[in-house]
Protein backbone atom coordinates (compact mmCIF):
# COMPACT_ATOMS: atom_id res chain seq x y z
CA UNK A 1 0.00 0.00 0.00
CA UNK A 2 2.88 2.36 0.80
CA UNK A 3 3.97 2.19 -2.81
CA UNK A 4 0.77 3.92 -3.84
CA UNK A 5 1.18 6.63 -1.21
CA UNK A 6 3.46 8.22 -3.77
CA UNK A 7 1.16 10.45 -5.82
CA UNK A 8 2.91 9.54 -9.08
CA UNK A 9 2.48 5.80 -8.52
CA UNK A 10 -1.10 6.42 -7.52
CA UNK A 11 -1.73 8.46 -10.66
CA UNK A 12 -0.47 5.61 -12.84
CA UNK A 13 -2.55 3.05 -11.00
CA UNK A 14 -5.67 5.22 -10.99
CA UNK A 15 -5.35 5.95 -14.69
CA UNK A 16 -5.29 2.24 -15.47
CA UNK A 17 -8.07 1.24 -13.10
CA UNK A 18 -10.59 4.05 -13.66
CA UNK A 19 -12.19 2.61 -16.86
CA UNK A 20 -12.60 -0.78 -15.20
CA UNK A 21 -14.32 0.65 -12.17
CA UNK A 22 -16.60 2.82 -14.28
CA UNK A 23 -17.36 -0.10 -16.62
CA UNK A 24 -18.11 -2.53 -13.81
CA UNK A 25 -20.10 0.06 -11.86
CA UNK A 26 -22.28 1.04 -14.81
CA UNK A 27 -22.79 -2.61 -15.75
CA UNK A 28 -23.88 -3.53 -12.25
CA UNK A 29 -26.19 -0.53 -12.00
CA UNK A 30 -27.70 -1.50 -15.36
CA UNK A 31 -28.22 -5.12 -14.31
CA UNK A 32 -29.56 -4.04 -10.91
CA UNK A 33 -31.94 -1.57 -12.54
CA UNK A 34 -33.25 -4.22 -14.92
CA UNK A 35 -33.68 -6.82 -12.18
CA UNK A 36 -35.20 -4.29 -9.82
CA UNK A 37 -37.60 -2.58 -12.20
CA UNK A 38 -38.61 -5.50 -14.43
CA UNK A 39 -37.88 -8.86 -12.83
CA UNK A 40 -38.54 -8.28 -9.14
CA UNK A 41 -42.18 -8.90 -8.17
CA UNK A 42 -44.28 -5.91 -7.07
CA UNK A 43 -44.67 -5.48 -3.34
CA UNK A 44 -47.93 -6.85 -1.99
CA UNK A 45 -48.69 -3.60 -0.17
CA UNK A 46 -46.91 -0.88 -2.09
CA UNK A 47 -47.21 -2.29 -5.60
CA UNK A 48 -44.63 -0.91 -7.98
CA UNK A 49 -43.90 2.17 -5.89
CA UNK A 50 -41.50 0.20 -3.72
CA UNK A 51 -39.10 -0.05 -6.68
CA UNK A 52 -37.65 3.34 -5.84
CA UNK A 53 -35.71 1.60 -3.08
CA UNK A 54 -33.29 0.40 -5.74
CA UNK A 55 -32.17 4.01 -6.11
CA UNK A 56 -32.96 5.22 -2.62
CA UNK A 57 -31.45 2.63 -0.30
CA UNK A 58 -28.04 2.35 -2.00
CA UNK A 59 -27.84 6.16 -2.04
CA UNK A 60 -28.59 6.32 1.67
CA UNK A 61 -26.02 3.62 2.39
CA UNK A 62 -23.47 5.45 0.27
CA UNK A 63 -24.13 8.74 2.07
CA UNK A 64 -22.87 7.13 5.28
CA UNK A 65 -20.21 4.97 3.64
CA UNK A 66 -18.65 7.97 1.88
CA UNK A 67 -18.51 10.01 5.09
CA UNK A 68 -16.94 7.02 6.84
CA UNK A 69 -14.29 6.73 4.13
CA UNK A 70 -13.64 10.47 4.35
CA UNK A 71 -13.10 10.12 8.09
CA UNK A 72 -10.69 7.19 7.56
CA UNK A 73 -8.84 9.15 4.87
CA UNK A 74 -8.67 12.25 7.09
CA UNK A 75 -7.45 10.17 10.04
CA UNK A 76 -4.72 8.59 7.92
CA UNK A 77 -3.67 12.07 6.81
CA UNK A 78 -3.77 13.32 10.38
CA UNK A 79 -1.97 10.42 12.06
CA UNK A 80 0.34 8.99 9.37
CA UNK A 81 0.71 12.15 7.28
CA UNK A 82 -0.50 10.10 4.35
CA UNK A 83 -0.09 12.43 1.37
CA UNK A 84 -3.22 11.22 -0.39
CA UNK A 85 -5.56 11.20 2.62
CA UNK A 86 -6.68 14.80 2.28
CA UNK A 87 -6.94 14.48 -1.48
CA UNK A 88 -9.17 11.44 -1.12
CA UNK A 89 -11.41 13.08 1.47
CA UNK A 90 -11.75 16.25 -0.58
CA UNK A 91 -12.48 14.28 -3.72
CA UNK A 92 -15.10 12.14 -1.99
CA UNK A 93 -17.06 14.95 -0.33
CA UNK A 94 -19.13 16.24 -3.29
CA UNK A 95 -19.98 12.67 -4.29
CA UNK A 96 -21.14 11.97 -0.75
CA UNK A 97 -23.22 15.15 -0.72
CA UNK A 98 -24.87 14.12 -3.99
CA UNK A 99 -25.65 10.64 -2.63
CA UNK A 100 -27.19 12.27 0.45
CA UNK A 101 -29.25 14.64 -1.66
CA UNK A 102 -30.31 11.74 -3.89
CA UNK A 103 -31.39 9.70 -0.88
CA UNK A 104 -33.42 12.65 0.42
CA UNK A 105 -34.98 13.44 -2.95
CA UNK A 106 -35.98 9.87 -3.76
CA UNK A 107 -37.25 9.46 -0.22
CA UNK A 108 -39.50 12.48 -0.68
CA UNK A 109 -40.76 11.20 -4.03
CA UNK A 110 -41.63 7.91 -2.39
CA UNK A 111 -43.07 9.56 0.70
CA UNK A 112 -45.68 11.59 -1.16
CA UNK A 113 -47.74 8.65 -2.48
CA UNK A 114 -46.93 6.31 0.45
CA UNK A 115 -47.15 8.51 3.53
CA UNK A 116 -49.19 11.24 1.84
CA UNK A 117 -46.56 13.89 2.55
CA UNK A 118 -43.25 14.98 1.09
CA UNK A 119 -41.57 15.31 4.41
CA UNK A 120 -41.96 14.15 8.00
CA UNK A 121 -39.64 15.02 10.84
CA UNK A 122 -38.77 11.42 11.35
CA UNK A 123 -35.48 10.61 13.05
CA UNK A 124 -33.79 9.05 10.06
CA UNK A 125 -34.90 11.72 7.60
CA UNK A 126 -33.75 14.47 9.91
CA UNK A 127 -30.32 13.01 10.53
CA UNK A 128 -29.86 12.47 6.79
CA UNK A 129 -30.66 16.16 6.25
CA UNK A 130 -28.16 17.18 8.93
CA UNK A 131 -25.57 14.94 7.28
CA UNK A 132 -26.11 16.95 4.10
CA UNK A 133 -25.40 20.17 6.03
CA UNK A 134 -22.21 18.65 7.42
CA UNK A 135 -21.08 17.70 3.92
CA UNK A 136 -21.79 21.26 2.76
CA UNK A 137 -19.84 22.76 5.66
CA UNK A 138 -16.87 20.49 4.85
CA UNK A 139 -16.90 21.47 1.18
CA UNK A 140 -17.32 25.15 2.09
CA UNK A 141 -14.29 25.04 4.39
CA UNK A 142 -12.14 23.66 1.56
CA UNK A 143 -13.37 26.39 -0.75
CA UNK A 144 -12.91 29.17 1.78
CA UNK A 145 -9.19 28.67 2.46
CA UNK A 146 -7.03 29.60 -0.51
CA UNK A 147 -3.86 27.87 0.52
CA UNK A 148 -4.30 24.11 -0.16
CA UNK A 149 -2.06 22.70 2.58
CA UNK A 150 -3.71 24.82 5.23
CA UNK A 151 -7.17 24.04 3.88
CA UNK A 152 -6.28 20.35 4.01
CA UNK A 153 -5.21 20.52 7.65
CA UNK A 154 -8.30 22.40 8.78
CA UNK A 155 -10.66 20.24 6.72
CA UNK A 156 -9.31 17.00 8.17
CA UNK A 157 -9.91 18.28 11.70
CA UNK A 158 -13.46 19.28 10.78
CA UNK A 159 -14.06 15.91 9.12
CA UNK A 160 -12.94 14.02 12.24
CA UNK A 161 -14.97 16.20 14.61
CA UNK A 162 -17.94 15.62 12.32
CA UNK A 163 -17.31 11.88 12.35
CA UNK A 164 -17.43 11.83 16.14
CA UNK A 165 -20.51 14.03 16.15
CA UNK A 166 -22.57 12.30 13.46
CA UNK A 167 -23.52 9.32 15.66
CA UNK A 168 -24.27 11.66 18.57
CA UNK A 169 -26.51 13.75 16.35
CA UNK A 170 -28.17 10.62 15.04
CA UNK A 171 -29.02 9.32 18.50
CA UNK A 172 -30.12 12.71 19.78
CA UNK A 173 -32.45 13.04 16.82
CA UNK A 174 -33.88 9.58 17.52
CA UNK A 175 -34.39 10.60 21.15
CA UNK A 176 -36.09 13.83 20.07
CA UNK A 177 -38.41 12.08 17.65
CA UNK A 178 -39.57 9.52 20.20
CA UNK A 179 -40.04 12.27 22.75
CA UNK A 180 -42.38 14.23 20.54
CA UNK A 181 -44.42 11.47 19.01
CA UNK A 182 -44.58 7.89 20.07
CA UNK A 183 -45.38 6.83 16.52
CA UNK A 184 -42.91 4.54 14.86
CA UNK A 185 -44.92 3.73 11.78
CA UNK A 186 -41.89 3.79 9.60
CA UNK A 187 -40.00 1.21 11.58
CA UNK A 188 -42.41 -1.64 11.13
CA UNK A 189 -40.42 -4.81 10.68
CA UNK A 190 -41.91 -5.70 7.34
CA UNK A 191 -41.81 -9.24 5.97
CA UNK A 192 -38.40 -10.62 5.20
CA UNK A 193 -37.39 -9.44 1.80
CA UNK A 194 -37.52 -12.27 -0.77
CA UNK A 195 -34.34 -12.98 -2.70
CA UNK A 196 -35.85 -11.69 -5.95
CA UNK A 197 -36.20 -8.26 -4.33
CA UNK A 198 -33.00 -8.33 -2.28
CA UNK A 199 -30.57 -9.44 -4.99
CA UNK A 200 -31.11 -6.39 -7.25
CA UNK A 201 -30.71 -4.16 -4.20
CA UNK A 202 -27.36 -5.68 -3.31
CA UNK A 203 -26.21 -5.53 -6.94
CA UNK A 204 -27.22 -1.87 -7.06
CA UNK A 205 -25.39 -1.12 -3.82
CA UNK A 206 -22.24 -2.79 -5.11
CA UNK A 207 -22.60 -0.95 -8.42
CA UNK A 208 -22.92 2.39 -6.59
CA UNK A 209 -19.81 1.61 -4.56
CA UNK A 210 -17.69 0.57 -7.55
CA UNK A 211 -18.89 3.56 -9.55
CA UNK A 212 -18.03 5.81 -6.61
CA UNK A 213 -14.48 4.44 -6.50
CA UNK A 214 -14.10 5.19 -10.21
CA UNK A 215 -15.38 8.71 -9.63
CA UNK A 216 -13.05 9.07 -6.66
CA UNK A 217 -10.05 8.10 -8.81
CA UNK A 218 -10.96 10.68 -11.45
CA UNK A 219 -11.46 13.42 -8.88
CA UNK A 220 -8.27 12.54 -7.01
CA UNK A 221 -6.27 12.63 -10.25
CA UNK A 222 -7.78 15.99 -11.08
CA UNK A 223 -6.92 17.29 -7.64
CA UNK A 224 -3.30 16.07 -7.76
CA UNK A 225 -2.81 17.54 -11.22
CA UNK A 226 -4.45 20.81 -10.16
CA UNK A 227 -2.02 21.10 -7.28
CA UNK A 228 0.93 20.49 -9.58
CA UNK A 229 -0.39 23.13 -11.94
CA UNK A 230 -0.70 25.54 -9.05
CA UNK A 231 2.89 24.89 -7.96
CA UNK A 232 4.16 25.34 -11.50
CA UNK A 233 2.24 28.58 -11.87
CA UNK A 234 3.57 29.91 -8.55
CA UNK A 235 7.12 28.99 -9.64
CA UNK A 236 6.72 30.82 -12.93
CA UNK A 237 5.29 33.88 -11.19
CA UNK A 238 8.13 33.68 -8.68
CA UNK A 239 10.70 33.55 -11.46
CA UNK A 240 9.39 36.75 -13.02
CA UNK A 241 8.79 38.60 -9.78
Amino acid sequence: MLHYANPQNFLNLARRLTPWFFGAGIAMIAVGTYLGLVIAPPDYQQGDAFRIIYVHVPAAWMSLFVYGSMAVASASAFIFKHPLGDVAAKAAAPAGAVFTALALATGMLWGKPMWGTWWVWDGRLTSELILLFIYIAYIALWDAIDEPTRAARMARILCLVGAINVPIIHFSVEWWQTLHQGVTVFRTDGPQMPASMLTPLLIMALGYTVFFVGLLFVRMRTEILARRLRTLRLNIEGAFA
Partner: protein, 221 residues
Protein backbone atom coordinates in the same frame (compact mmCIF):
# COMPACT_ATOMS: atom_id res chain seq x y z
CA UNK B 1 -1.30 28.30 35.83
CA UNK B 2 -0.30 31.95 35.90
CA UNK B 3 -0.12 32.00 32.12
CA UNK B 4 -3.57 30.42 32.01
CA UNK B 5 -5.09 33.02 34.35
CA UNK B 6 -3.38 35.84 32.51
CA UNK B 7 -4.71 34.65 29.17
CA UNK B 8 -8.18 34.16 30.62
CA UNK B 9 -8.27 37.66 32.12
CA UNK B 10 -6.87 39.18 28.94
CA UNK B 11 -9.54 37.53 26.80
CA UNK B 12 -12.33 38.54 29.17
CA UNK B 13 -11.15 42.15 29.26
CA UNK B 14 -10.77 42.20 25.49
CA UNK B 15 -14.25 40.87 24.88
CA UNK B 16 -15.79 43.23 27.45
CA UNK B 17 -14.09 46.36 26.18
CA UNK B 18 -14.01 45.88 22.43
CA UNK B 19 -17.17 47.18 20.81
CA UNK B 20 -19.72 46.11 23.39
CA UNK B 21 -18.57 42.46 23.15
CA UNK B 22 -20.54 40.73 25.87
CA UNK B 23 -23.71 42.77 25.56
CA UNK B 24 -23.91 42.10 21.85
CA UNK B 25 -24.71 38.44 22.43
CA UNK B 26 -27.08 39.19 25.29
CA UNK B 27 -28.90 41.89 23.33
CA UNK B 28 -29.18 39.60 20.33
CA UNK B 29 -30.65 36.84 22.51
CA UNK B 30 -33.29 39.14 24.03
CA UNK B 31 -34.09 40.57 20.61
CA UNK B 32 -34.83 37.14 19.11
CA UNK B 33 -37.10 36.33 22.06
CA UNK B 34 -38.87 39.67 21.57
CA UNK B 35 -39.23 39.15 17.82
CA UNK B 36 -40.90 35.77 18.21
CA UNK B 37 -44.32 37.06 19.34
CA UNK B 38 -44.27 39.60 16.51
CA UNK B 39 -43.83 36.81 14.00
CA UNK B 40 -45.92 34.11 15.63
CA UNK B 41 -48.68 36.26 17.09
CA UNK B 42 -49.30 37.10 20.74
CA UNK B 43 -51.31 33.93 21.50
CA UNK B 44 -50.08 32.77 24.98
CA UNK B 45 -50.68 29.07 24.36
CA UNK B 46 -48.78 29.11 21.07
CA UNK B 47 -45.88 31.10 22.51
CA UNK B 48 -45.68 28.84 25.50
CA UNK B 49 -45.43 25.72 23.39
CA UNK B 50 -42.88 27.39 21.08
CA UNK B 51 -40.85 28.80 23.98
CA UNK B 52 -38.42 25.87 24.58
CA UNK B 53 -37.34 25.80 20.96
CA UNK B 54 -37.20 29.59 20.65
CA UNK B 55 -35.09 30.02 23.77
CA UNK B 56 -32.62 27.41 22.62
CA UNK B 57 -32.44 28.57 19.01
CA UNK B 58 -31.81 32.08 20.30
CA UNK B 59 -29.06 30.71 22.57
CA UNK B 60 -27.46 28.82 19.66
CA UNK B 61 -27.44 31.92 17.47
CA UNK B 62 -26.33 34.30 20.23
CA UNK B 63 -23.38 32.05 21.08
CA UNK B 64 -22.16 32.40 17.51
CA UNK B 65 -21.73 36.14 17.88
CA UNK B 66 -18.59 36.38 19.97
CA UNK B 67 -16.87 33.44 18.29
CA UNK B 68 -15.36 35.39 15.43
CA UNK B 69 -13.27 37.27 17.93
CA UNK B 70 -12.04 34.30 19.93
CA UNK B 71 -9.22 33.21 17.61
CA UNK B 72 -9.24 35.48 14.57
CA UNK B 73 -7.66 38.64 16.09
CA UNK B 74 -4.88 36.58 17.69
CA UNK B 75 -4.12 35.04 14.32
CA UNK B 76 -4.09 38.44 12.60
CA UNK B 77 -1.86 40.30 15.06
CA UNK B 78 0.59 37.45 15.71
CA UNK B 79 -0.45 36.67 19.29
CA UNK B 80 -1.14 33.14 18.16
CA UNK B 81 2.53 32.66 17.21
CA UNK B 82 3.53 33.67 20.73
CA UNK B 83 0.94 31.35 22.25
CA UNK B 84 2.27 28.50 20.10
CA UNK B 85 5.76 29.09 21.45
CA UNK B 86 4.73 29.49 25.09
CA UNK B 87 5.07 26.74 27.67
CA UNK B 88 1.30 26.61 28.16
CA UNK B 89 -0.06 23.67 26.13
CA UNK B 90 -2.39 24.78 23.36
CA UNK B 91 -5.16 22.66 24.88
CA UNK B 92 -5.07 24.97 27.88
CA UNK B 93 -4.95 28.02 25.64
CA UNK B 94 -8.15 26.71 24.09
CA UNK B 95 -9.62 26.09 27.53
CA UNK B 96 -8.88 29.67 28.61
CA UNK B 97 -10.44 31.02 25.44
CA UNK B 98 -13.54 28.86 25.78
CA UNK B 99 -13.92 29.88 29.40
CA UNK B 100 -13.54 33.57 28.53
CA UNK B 101 -16.10 33.23 25.76
CA UNK B 102 -18.53 31.37 27.98
CA UNK B 103 -18.21 33.84 30.87
CA UNK B 104 -18.86 36.82 28.63
CA UNK B 105 -21.50 35.16 26.46
CA UNK B 106 -23.07 31.91 27.66
CA UNK B 107 -23.25 32.89 31.30
CA UNK B 108 -24.92 36.20 30.45
CA UNK B 109 -27.53 34.31 28.45
CA UNK B 110 -28.07 31.90 31.36
CA UNK B 111 -28.80 34.83 33.65
CA UNK B 112 -31.01 36.66 31.16
CA UNK B 113 -33.04 33.73 29.91
CA UNK B 114 -35.12 33.15 33.06
CA UNK B 115 -35.83 36.88 33.12
CA UNK B 116 -37.15 37.09 29.56
CA UNK B 117 -38.79 33.64 29.37
CA UNK B 118 -41.97 34.90 31.08
CA UNK B 119 -42.45 37.06 27.96
CA UNK B 120 -43.12 33.74 26.21
CA UNK B 121 -45.49 32.68 29.02
CA UNK B 122 -43.13 30.05 30.43
CA UNK B 123 -44.46 28.98 33.86
CA UNK B 124 -42.59 30.21 36.89
CA UNK B 125 -41.94 26.63 37.99
CA UNK B 126 -40.27 25.87 34.65
CA UNK B 127 -37.83 28.76 34.89
CA UNK B 128 -35.25 26.79 36.85
CA UNK B 129 -35.15 24.25 34.02
CA UNK B 130 -34.59 27.08 31.53
CA UNK B 131 -31.64 28.28 33.61
CA UNK B 132 -30.32 24.78 34.34
CA UNK B 133 -30.50 23.63 30.74
CA UNK B 134 -28.64 26.73 29.55
CA UNK B 135 -26.05 26.41 32.31
CA UNK B 136 -25.37 22.81 31.32
CA UNK B 137 -25.56 23.32 27.58
CA UNK B 138 -23.95 26.66 26.76
CA UNK B 139 -20.42 25.51 27.79
CA UNK B 140 -20.73 22.81 25.12
CA UNK B 141 -21.78 25.46 22.60
CA UNK B 142 -18.71 27.53 23.48
CA UNK B 143 -16.43 24.50 23.11
CA UNK B 144 -17.77 23.43 19.71
CA UNK B 145 -17.89 27.07 18.64
CA UNK B 146 -14.26 27.67 19.57
CA UNK B 147 -13.22 24.57 17.63
CA UNK B 148 -15.12 25.94 14.65
CA UNK B 149 -13.49 29.33 15.12
CA UNK B 150 -10.03 27.71 15.24
CA UNK B 151 -10.68 25.74 12.07
CA UNK B 152 -12.08 28.69 10.14
CA UNK B 153 -9.65 31.33 11.44
CA UNK B 154 -7.93 33.27 8.70
CA UNK B 155 -10.79 32.85 6.26
CA UNK B 156 -12.24 35.85 4.50
CA UNK B 157 -15.87 36.38 5.52
CA UNK B 158 -15.32 33.64 8.07
CA UNK B 159 -18.47 34.45 10.04
CA UNK B 160 -20.91 32.77 7.68
CA UNK B 161 -18.67 29.74 7.31
CA UNK B 162 -18.38 29.57 11.09
CA UNK B 163 -22.16 29.42 11.42
CA UNK B 164 -22.38 26.75 8.74
CA UNK B 165 -19.79 24.62 10.55
CA UNK B 166 -20.93 25.13 14.13
CA UNK B 167 -24.74 25.03 13.94
CA UNK B 168 -25.15 21.44 12.67
CA UNK B 169 -22.68 20.19 15.26
CA UNK B 170 -24.65 21.92 18.02
CA UNK B 171 -27.94 20.26 17.15
CA UNK B 172 -27.79 17.77 20.07
CA UNK B 173 -27.66 20.69 22.53
CA UNK B 174 -30.72 22.22 20.90
CA UNK B 175 -32.61 18.94 21.06
CA UNK B 176 -31.81 18.12 24.68
CA UNK B 177 -32.07 21.72 25.89
CA UNK B 178 -35.47 22.32 24.34
CA UNK B 179 -36.43 18.76 25.35
CA UNK B 180 -35.77 19.50 29.01
CA UNK B 181 -37.93 22.63 29.02
CA UNK B 182 -40.60 20.81 27.03
CA UNK B 183 -40.59 17.94 29.51
CA UNK B 184 -41.16 20.16 32.52
CA UNK B 185 -43.89 22.08 30.69
CA UNK B 186 -45.69 18.81 30.07
CA UNK B 187 -45.31 17.80 33.68
CA UNK B 188 -42.71 15.09 33.15
CA UNK B 189 -39.23 14.74 34.54
CA UNK B 190 -36.65 16.94 32.78
CA UNK B 191 -33.70 15.19 34.37
CA UNK B 192 -33.07 12.72 31.55
CA UNK B 193 -32.73 15.54 29.05
CA UNK B 194 -30.59 17.57 31.43
CA UNK B 195 -28.22 14.65 32.00
CA UNK B 196 -27.91 14.05 28.27
CA UNK B 197 -27.25 17.76 27.83
CA UNK B 198 -24.47 17.59 30.41
CA UNK B 199 -23.06 14.55 28.59
CA UNK B 200 -23.08 16.53 25.34
CA UNK B 201 -21.14 19.35 26.98
CA UNK B 202 -18.60 16.95 28.44
CA UNK B 203 -18.01 15.19 25.13
CA UNK B 204 -17.80 18.57 23.42
CA UNK B 205 -15.20 19.67 25.99
CA UNK B 206 -12.95 16.72 25.19
CA UNK B 207 -13.39 16.58 21.44
CA UNK B 208 -13.46 20.30 20.78
CA UNK B 209 -10.47 21.25 22.93
CA UNK B 210 -8.33 18.59 21.23
CA UNK B 211 -9.61 19.60 17.80
CA UNK B 212 -9.20 23.32 18.43
CA UNK B 213 -5.67 22.84 19.80
CA UNK B 214 -4.76 20.75 16.74
CA UNK B 215 -6.20 23.46 14.50
CA UNK B 216 -4.24 26.19 16.29
CA UNK B 217 -1.07 24.14 15.96
CA UNK B 218 -1.56 23.66 12.25
CA UNK B 219 -3.28 26.89 11.25
CA UNK B 220 -0.28 28.57 9.65
CA UNK B 221 0.90 29.00 6.11
Amino acid sequence: MRAFTALLLRDIVLSLRSGGGAWLGAGFFVLIIALAPLGLGPEPALLKSAAPGLIWIAALLATLLGLERVIEPDLQDGTLDLLRMSALPLEFVVLAKVLAHWLTNGLVICVLAPLVSPMLFVDAKALWVVAASLLLGTPGLSFIGTAGAAVSAGVRRGGVLLALIVLPLNIPALIFGAGAINAVQHGSDPRQALLLLAAFSLIAAVVASLAAAAALRLNED
